[in-house]
Amino acid sequence: MARDSEPLFSSKNLKLLTDPLNNENPITVQVLGICSALAITVKLKPAIVMTLSVMVVLAVSNVVISALRKSIPPRIRIIVQLVVIATMVILVDQFLKAFAYDVSKQLSVFVGLIITNCIIMGRLEAFAMANKPWPSFLDGIGNASGYGIILIIVAFFRELLGSGTLLGYPVLEKTGLYNIGYENNGLMILPPMALITIGIIIWVQRAKNRSLIEE
């Protein structure tokens, strides 16, 4: 691989990492990968594991496709991309089954469904096919973090308000809120509330960042 003439963390490369966190967020701005954001955000732990899994899959697939980009015939590029993604997802799935069986069971089909996550295909098509491996790697990490940060925010509120715990630790019970009549909000556990929470995040983000408001 030819050496990059620019430094590893040039401002252009850093933008690849930070843009997806706000201006180019895959969930709140591009509205991709919503299904998994709704399905696995009831508890914080699965959301974190899901974020890490997507990060690994996206970063590695991005690098692999970027390295192969000149030798992939354009007509079959989607198939090649899918093979790479599927391989990575199977690896992650097997890894979770071996080392984090409980979480793997909670995530159930959603690990396998990373294959169909639009964010991953989108990044491979839009970025890795046209860029060098190192920027592609950063792009993968950045987009997975942008996806993950929304997942974790949503899961944080849903677990805290819906179950009164954080990562399984009974936070609200320790504060004694239940003794004065507080009760967990059952709606937070239901999928519609994930949608509404994401909606509120989008609302807050656009109120702060006016450039995102479409006419």
Binding site: E183, L187, M188, I200, W203
Partner: protein, 387 residues
């Protein structure tokens, strides 16, 4: 009255542009038009300005809700002392209910109007009157023992997520009062359903006389205990457990009369909703595979919140169909869905709330097709006349 007008006129300049309280312009405006019919006139073009503005419209709805509210207050006391096995006078029962009811109304209005005023100030528009009715409806459709903080949360949810995000009064897709109730129903089911919540004090361990059941007739029916249903007279009068304002069909009919007489509620929606419910009841009677389905169709209309929902909720001018033909279709489907969900889905003891919310979503679609059909019909007519 004159002194009040003078006072308002005197302080008015402070709230105009350039005055010292300019920031509170929308708050002042809201109170002024609440007290007096606005004196605004159109400056150009020929427009008719009806003095019956949104505030007057809302007030009529509030007035039509008063019979249900007064009866609800009395019924709270009546059910409570019935559970205790005590005989009390009408006024004692009413006073007990009044004391129970007051905090609920205060919280509903306080939280809702607070948020409305906040949004009006932030966005710099007039305070919308929509909450006058919503704030009155919410206390009538919750159980009496609902914890006030839950109610406050539900009202905030309904006003912010149900209304303000869509652009405020007149823009909402869902009926805000029902949004609040749906929020409570799904978030805190233990306080919104079951046998314990409908009579004041039961949830807090009130000692009842033997044989007293706090279950609503609807719950009894769902459990298949058809023989334990109260008589039709009790259901029409409303001396049964239930959400505060929904029990008395008589009080609701009085409200319906006011709404129809003043032309504010659509009689088409009410009529078609009741006939839809009746038809679905008859269809269920035909199959009648369980005791619940055997309840006479007309009796279904007295059960639960059907009458209240159809008269006060389904007719909401914002969330129902706007076209005249659409109103017939909309109301009819609300009635059908309400009975369908109620009887055939064991998870939801009352289908009225979900039926109305569901049809709120479809109301614009119904309107769209009615308008399209009208355009097509007229186009056809012109073609024929040209030839």
């Amino acid at each position: 009255m004159k002194a009040l007008r003078k006072f308002v006129d005197k302080i008015k300049p402070h709230f105009e542009k350039g005055g010292k309280f300019e920031a509170f312009h929308s708050t002042f405006e809201a109170f002024e038009t609440f007290l007096f019919v606005p004196d605004k006139v159109t400056t150009s073009g020929s427009h008719i300005r009806d003095p019956l503005d949104m505030k007057r419209t809302m007030i009529v709805v509030v007035v039509s809700l008063i019979p249900a509210l007064l009866f609800g207050m009395w019924n709270i006391g009546y059910q409570h002392f019935l559970a205790l096995g005590e005989q009390v006078s009408l006024w004692q029962a009413f006073w007990f209910g009044f004391v129970k009811m007051l905090p609920i109304i205060v919280v509903s209005y306080g939280v809702g109007l607070g948020i409305e005023f906040l949004f009006a100030q932030l966005r710099g528009h007039e305070v919308n009157e929509g909450f006058l009715v919503t704030g009155f409806l919410i206390p009538l459709i919750v159980p009496v023992d609902i914890p006030l903080w839950m109610l406050a949360l539900a009202v905030a949810f309904a006003v912010i997520i149900g209304k303000e995000v869509f652009g405020g009064t007149g823009m909402n897709i869902f009926n805000p009062a029902l949004t609040a109730r749906a929020f409570l129903f799904f978030a805190y089911p233990a306080w919104m359903s079951g046998d314990q919540v409908w009579v004041a004090g039961l949830k807090h361990g009130l000692q009842t006389v033997d044989g007293f059941s706090g279950a609503t007739p609807l719950a009894e029916a769902a459990a298949g205990k058809i023989d334990q249903l109260p008589s039709v007279w009790h259901m029409v009068l409303g001396t049964i457990p239930g959400s505060i304002g929904e029990t008395s069909v008589l009080a609701i009919l009085l409200g319906a009369f006011i709404l129809i007489y003043t032309g504010i509620g659509s009689w088409k929606i009410m009529l078609s909703a009741f006939s839809g419910g009746l038809l679905m009841g008859l269809i269920l009677n035909l199959f009648a595979v369980n005791p619940y389905m055997e309840i006479p169709a007309w009796e279904q209309l007295f059960l639960g919140g059907f009458a209240f929902g159809m008269v006060f909720m389904a007719t909401d001018p914002v969330t129902s169909s706007q076209t005249e033909t659409g109103k017939w279709i909309y109301g009819f489907l609300v009635g059908i869905m309400a009975i369908l969900i109620r009887v055939l889905n064991p998870a939801y003891p009352e289908g009225v709330m979900l039926a109305i919310l569901l049809m709120n979503v479809f109301a614009p679609l119904i309107d769209h097709y009615v308008v399209e059909a009208n355009i097509k019909r007229r186009l056809k007519r012109t073609k024929v006349s040209i030839q």
